[in-house]
Amino acid sequence: MKKILFLIFTSATFLMYSCDDRLEELNTDKKNPSEVDPSTLFASGLKNTFDNIESASVNNNPFRLYAQYWAQTTYPEESQYNLTSRSIPRNYWASIYRDVLADLNEAKRLIQIEIDEENFENISREVYTNRIATIDILMAYNYMLLVDAFGDVPFSEALDVDNLTPQYDDAATIYDNVLSMIDNAIAAYSGSNAFPASQDAMYNGSVSSWITFANSLKLRMGMRLVDVDYATASNVVTDAIAAGVFTSNADNASVQYMTAAPNTNPVYSAIVLSGRNDFVIANVFAEELNELEDPRLFEYASNPVLFGFPEDANDEPVDSTFVTDGLYLVYQNVDKQDSATVHVTGSVTVEAKYAGRLRVYKGGTYGSANSFGSNAKLSAKLYNDPTFPGVLLSYSEVEFLLAEAIERGITTGDAEIHYNAGIEASFDFWGANGYEDYIAQPQVAYTTAAGDYEQKIGKQLWISLYNQGVEAWATYRRLDFDALRPLPGDDEVSVPLRFPYPLEEEQLNGASVSAAAAAIGGDNVTTRVFWDVN
């Protein structure tokens, strides 16, 4: 008996006091890394930046709808600006803070540790510094997205898990800080290499490309400020132009996606891989392009639908006379291949013999449910090319911004040249033909197109920003160009002017949300973000 008791207690004692290391080892994850190269976190933040901006999911990126490029088919809720059923603001917010900024911030932290500890055997201080600069530029871009969508958001206290109730910073102040981040980053660069080429899908680690992007981003942000703080806007824009912005589509801040899921273009996932038929081209956009005789329509939309002829008592089609501001009629050959496209304007009669052979780019009614089959579809490129590039900022946009900067007296030059260059860059990007004829039309030509420079530039920028819903939404709010329409049954355009704060933020960080709501003039979709002064 003594032996047994002895055995029990000695073994128990042994097990109890000898095993802390062993217990710790047991609680160590053997399937996931506890240390990683910061460049892998950067690559993730970059990929997620693109996925967020390119997403066509109605759960987090409804902006192609808000820009009225696309209409929905069976379930039109998001095009009616229903934001809460799918918690869209929450998802957009999370896509940026959690999926992008957290990884970038962590990468920056890890690199800073290397710098602080002076571990320069393999990577020089200079390259580390360049990497931090690169991260800062990408973070700046993402903070701009947050401010543009929400107004005041957490910035100075964000990304700190020890602070569960980060305060919301003033939107204008964040813009200032973000611009400083960009300036500091540009200043910090030296040499030519930042991240390894394989880890930087956008610019292959090229410092000069990142600097050009940083300047173009400054141009965009400066122009955002133009109505609220002309002096700052002027300085920022002038600096950016002097330092060098995008000069061709080759400079675009873009990545090429891949052929297989999950690395295809997110639009391809949403409209092809999903097997769903949720979207068609919107009537607002299709009619505008038809009217302007804009050949980009053939790239922006596909699958024109049958042109309907009236029928007589014997159900035979009869000649059809219609009045149009402008309409592309596509004549389809017997082999069903498109063989001719004509643009018709005014009162036109089409002979019945063409019944069944004529097609039109008819868009679905924006804000309503639509039949998928009886409306033209989205761009064939989006359908056919899973690798279609995603774009954060395009050369085309830069040219339009330059034109506007000239009009606003910030810089000098010929606005028309930049306006035309913006259109041309868009034609080139989408592979559209007929740019020369297009800009020669009086309703397009800069000198003769309707409206003031804001209207002209706004509308053409809107057309050029097709598929860049986030920026199109910001452009609409900033320039208030006259193209978007009210929802069916409404009198006024009711596109949200900002996202309300995620409901979840109210529950988790209520005091900060209340303070921010008070500061911005109410947590409403009609509250304007600080740069949207009218």
């Binding site: 097990l15 399937k31 190269d37 229903n82």
Partner: protein, 1078 residues
């Protein structure tokens, strides 16, 4: 034969006869019937020497030369103690015992104690209560039978059952611990987080369902902290101790055979009813007529009417038998309706006809045998079930062996070996996903005849769906929904679980008052799950990455092992004639390993019909894998003092060291005290046979799963040659501590009226602090959630058991026992000044919450706006919605189970009535199904006698009662002529979620059985006993308020309750059962 069996099992028994002084024999009979009682435990008092009576009630036991005392005990009978004296034959009559005066019950660590001595509440169930009317998952059979225990099943074949004891104590795991003969049984529900929150997935059941009811002799339910403190870190949610049937000392081999067949069909009150006035569509959106697409189908040059097959709703054109239109099958070349227009009428067979009869075979054979030194029991069970869904089957095979032998005078050894194999094909998809119930309850066209879908699938084997994206040109490409038969027969899943549960124990009698027992056990299973998606299916989230895939294959492997090593030194001594002392010291080491790996194809299947990981179009994505390991060391002790059979004191202590917690916090302890005062021993109260007051206080706890302490990074898919890693969305916490539940409990037990009435009431108050929360974080922190210790939940309530023999004559006996439970939970605090914590978010924006000051698990979503208690109706006639409101509380006010047994001679009728009062459920099915116009209330006439779906201008529309925003009575009819009108599923401004919150109260006849024992005279030639039973379960829902669904049909096991989505109808089963003992 016995030898062969033993050899087969590779067990070596040392059969060692030992010298005895002399032998006493006799027969034990039932005082009521005079028949021999088999299986009575005959124990020589003060020793561990004992035998069981044989099938005729005979026994033979060796006693010391000076005689001593024999204790006869049998469940349900009063113990008899008999002085042997000089006698060599002792016959004993045992009285039925409905009171617990000297009932011996199993308590923590399998210590048997007299129930009278306990300071806490404990309830025992005999095996028959779960084996008589058998459920494939035995946990379902506990419903209504134990006070304080709440059971929610989910109606899917092989699905998990949520069982909680005394409410929810934790935000993560509230399932009690199951222990079979001292072996803890893993009951981790390996369902995905998505499945548990009402998203996609299958319910793979809870592993405790592997316990075979036929092997269960009795179950002891330990509810409170004082009862379970010895389980420490595992005792927080209560413990269910299961004692298996054992062999006894018998002549020859005893054979029992039990065979049952039950047939089930759906309870139609728990399934959708459909309106039969309008068909496919969402409104007047299509073609020239508004309700049909125009296409020249017959080639005559004029447009024909084609059903809008893309629309998965029934808000379309009014049915008209004189209108011929082209349905989905008009475009299917193999269909007899190919090219034919047919009348526009409701489908003849609604989805209610989709369900098949559930057929369950349940067979068991067991062999028992033994002699004075060795006993064994071997049983084999087979359960074979075909579920209500086409192509669904579940097979369980269980082999169970228990044996024990006396190795010498002091040493006994016992062994338990159980092997299970479960094969399941075609589990039911759950939640808001490609679950067919969400198709039938939310997204359906009433013009579709489900049997025609079956006919075309069976004829062609192709996915001809009612929901083609473009029926006229391509009837084989669905837009949202596959042909439901295609879903069942082609996109099916399957899983196999092999499990071994084994224990070896030794018991060494150190002295006549001191005992050592050691035990080693293993519970291990290997489970493989396969999910298939056939080429040609509608794309849906599938595979490891949940990308949209139109075909694919996914395989999940789970390997789970738990070892336990136990050593307990126990002693018992009477200090004086007044004072008895007993206690124990023990050690437990638990070692767990949970290895999970999930792999899938990506981009589809290269070769149709081949379900292999290598058959992937794109490179296989990274597998999803995790490995959780944990060791817990427990040291415990217990001390009991008994004073003159009326005052009992009980103290328990346990210390645990868990590897799942940070080293600095990994050691923690628990303690409990109990006091039992049998006042009837000292005060003589008229009519009271037994009375006891009890009080106890205890603490128990809960650690966490492994890997929640240290941070890691996750790999994500490579992109453009780059390597990607990301921070997890969940932040781990290096400062975690164990949860602590403290609980006090007081109770009163009474036995009265000649022991015909039993009464037991318990009041408990438990508070769990240091609550381990997975808290949602502001995502501005960069994370979704983290784990912290904070917050407290309180559960308090009453449990009442009242029962007894209402009628008791020689021939007729009517026994009724009621179990009543009323639990109130309240979330006392959360982290810091946080007022609300969301622990599950569902489709449509409804959430499950812990809100300070509210019951655990309240549902939040959009609620009504009120002016002076009246609902506000907006200018269009729609109810106004207000966001972020509490819209329901899923916790019942009280539950009541009334168990009745009426017997007349050999005929016995048993039935169980279950009542739940209160508790709310939110129905996503109604939320969408009303919007899509499926249900009768969305059609028909309005209060003006006009079709509700007519335009308001024509007298149609629906009038919501309430007031306008100015407080005036609402007189505006809401339009109901399209889906977005009066029955629309709502948005942040109107038609709040609260519209489809229902009271979950119900009254139901849960089970009934009629048993006839054949007279001994008729069967004595071939058998000892033959029982024939008619059994039924879920026979009748007498009352409920939830339309078209069973309020109990939840999501399965998990903290998130009160959400109905794609719920399965309840299966009403009836059957026959034969039990024969040879």
């Amino acid at each position: 034969m016995k030898k062969i069996l033993l050899t087969c099992l590779m067990l070596v028994f040392v059969l060692h006869a030992w010298a005895q002084d002399r032998t006493v024999s006799g027969k034990v009979t039932d005082a009521d019937t005079g028949e021999g009682l088999p299986g009575v435990n005959v124990l020589l008092k003060g020793t561990s020497s004992g035998v069981n009576t044989d099938l005729d009630g005979n026994y033979k036991i060796s006693v010391p030369s000076d005689g001593g005392t024999l204790v006869f005990s049998f469940i349900g009978m009063a113990n008899n103690e008999v002085q042997v004296g000089a006698r060599s034959v002792i016959d004993v009559q045992m009285e039925t015992d409905v009171q617990q005066l000297s009932e011996v019950v199993v308590t923590a660590m399998n210590i048997t104690r007299e129930k009278a001595s306990l300071g806490y509440s404990q309830q025992t169930l005999d095996g028959e209560s779960i084996s008589k009317v058998k459920e494939t998952n035995f946990i379902n059979s506990l419903s209504g039978k134990v006070a304080g225990v709440n059971v929610r099943q989910n109606n899917t074949m092989g699905g998990s059952t949520n069982i909680t004891i005394r409410g929810n104590s934790s935000f993560t795991n509230n399932q009690p611990l199951f222990v079979i003969d001292g072996v803890p049984v893993s009951n981790e529900t390996n369902n995905s987080a998505s499945q548990q929150a009402g998203g996609y997935g299958y319910d793979y059941g809870n592993p405790a369902a592997d316990i075979n009811p036929e092997d269960v002799k009795s179950m002891s339910v330990l509810k409170g902290a004082a009862a379970t403190a010895l389980y420490g870190v595992r005792g927080q949610n209560g413990v269910i101790l299961i004692e298996t049937k054992k062999g006894g000392s018998t002549k020859g081999i005893g054979i029992s055979v039990s065979s049952g067949l039950t047939v089930g069909s759906i309870d139609r009150s728990t399934f959708a009813e459909y309106q039969d006035e309008y068909g496919a569509g969402y409104g007047a959106y299509y073609g020239s007529t508004g309700y049909f697409n125009d296409a020249d189908v017959d080639g005559d040059g004029t447009a024909d009417l084609v059903v809008p097959t893309t629309e998965d709703g029934s808000y379309g054109g009014a049915f008209d038998p004189n209108l011929n239109v082209y349905h989905w099958d008009a475009f299917v070349p193999e269909s007899e309706n190919f090219g034919q227009a047919r009348p526009w009428v409701a489908g003849e067979n609604t989805p209610a006809e989709f369900f098949e009869n559930q057929i369950t075979w349940n067979n068991n054979v067991s062999l028992t045998g033994g002699n004075e030194n060795t006993s064994f029991r071997l049983s084999y069970s087979n359960v074979d079930e075909n579920g209500i869904m086409p192509n669904s089957s579940l097979t369980k095979n269980t082999l169970n062996f228990t044996g024990s032998t006396k190795l010498n005078e002091k040493l006994t050894a016992d062994v338990l070996f159980q092997y299970n194999r479960q094969d399941v094909v075609g589990r039911f998809s759950t939640g808001y996903s490609d679950n067919l119930m969400s198709q039938y309850r939310q997204w359906w066209q009433t013009n579709v005849d489900v049997k025609e879908q079956e006919a075309i699938y069976k004829e062609t084997g192709k996915n001809y769906t009612w929901n083609a994206a473009d029926a006229t040109s391509d009837p084989l490409t669905p837009i949202y929904w596959d042909n439901p038969y295609w879903t069942r027969y082609e996109n099916y899943n399957s899983d196999v679980r092999d499990r071994i549960l084994s224990k070896v124990g030794v018991n060494y009698k150190v002295t006549d008052w001191l005992n050592f027992s050691g035990r080693a056990s293993i519970d291990t299973y290997f489970e493989t799950r396969e999910e298939r998606r056939a080429v040609g299916s509608v794309p849906t989230a599938f595979g490891v990455q949940r990308n949209s895939e139109s075909s694919g294959y996914q395989q999940t492997d789970i390997q789970n092992t738990e070892y336990n090593f136990n050593g307990v030194l126990s002693g018992s001594k009477d200090i004086s004639s007044d004072l008895s002392l007993s206690g124990l010291l023990g050690f437990n080491m638990r070692k767990e390993r949970y290895d999970y790996s999930q792999q899938s194809t990506s981009g589809g299947l290269a070769v149709a019909g081949l379900y292999a990981l290598s058959n992937s179009v794109s490179p296989n994505p990274f597998p999803f894998e995790y490995l959780h390991e944990r060791e817990v060391y427990g040291y415990f002790g217990n001390l009991n003092l008994g004073f003159r059979n009326f005052l009992y004191f009980d103290a328990n202590y346990r210390m645990d060291v868990s590897s799942a917690l940070p080293v600095a916090n990994n050691q923690f302890d628990y303690y409990a005290f109990g006091l039992g005062f049998v006042f009837s021993e000292i005060i003589d109260l008229p009519g009271i046979n037994f009375g006891k007051l009890r009080a106890s206080y205890g603490t128990v706890g809960n650690d966490t799963r492994a890997l929640r302490v240290n941070d890691v990074y996750y790999r994500t898919n490579n992109f453009q040659g780059g390597i990607l890693t990301t921070l997890p969305s969940v932040k781990n916490n290096p400062n975690l501590k164990a949860e602590i539940t403290t609980e006090y409990e007081i109770g009163l037990e009474l036995t009265a009226l000649n022991r015909r009435l039993n009464f037991d009431i318990a009041y408990y108050n438990r508070e769990t602090g240091n609550q381990l929360l997975s808290v949602q974080l502001s995502k501005a922190t960069g994370y979704t959630s983290t784990f912290i210790n904070s917050g407290a939940i309180q559960n308090k309530g009453f449990e009442i058991v009242l029962g007894g023999d209402i009628i008791k004559t020689n021939d007729v006996r009517f026994n009724s026992t009621a179990n009543f439970t009323a639990n109130r939970s309240e979330v006392l605090s959360l982290i810091g000044d946080t007022e609300n914590y969301v622990f599950a978010s569902y489709q449509s924006g409804v959430t499950s919450n812990a809100a300070v000051g509210e019951p655990f698990g309240v549902l939040k979503g959009t609620g009504y706006q009120f002016i002076d208690g009246e609902r506000v109706i907006n200018a269009s006639g729609y109810p106004v919605a207000v966001t972020n409101q509490i819209i329901g509380d899923p916790n019942p006010d009280w539950t009541l189970g009334v168990n009745n047994t009426l017997s007349y001679k050999s005929l016995s009728l048993g039935f169980l009535v279950d009542v739940q009062k209160g508790g709310d459920v939110y129905s996503l099915d109604m939320h969408y199904g009303r919007g899509t116009g499926l249900y009768p209330e969305t059609a028909g006439l309005n209060d003006k006698g006009n079709p509700v779906r007519s335009p308001v201008a024509d007298g149609g529309g629906y009038l919501y009662t309430g007031v306008t925003e100015d407080g005036e009575p609402n007189t505006t009819y809401a339009r109901a002529d399209y889906y977005g009108g009066a029955f629309y599923w709502g948005n942040s401004a109107r038609q709040p979620n609260e519209m489809t919150v229902y009271d979950a109260s119900s009254v139901r006849l849960r089970e009934a059985s009629l048993t006839y024992s054949l007279p001994k005279s008729a069967i004595s030639k071939f058998a000892q006993s033959v029982n024939l039973s008619l059994v039924g379960r879920n026979l009748w829902i007498i009352h409920k308020n939830v339309p078209y669904a069973d309020p109990e049909s939840g999501l399965g096991a998990g903290a998130a309750q009160g959400f109905l989505v794609g719920s399965y109808p309840t299966v009403r089963t009836t059957g026959v059962k034969v039990d024969i003992t040879f």
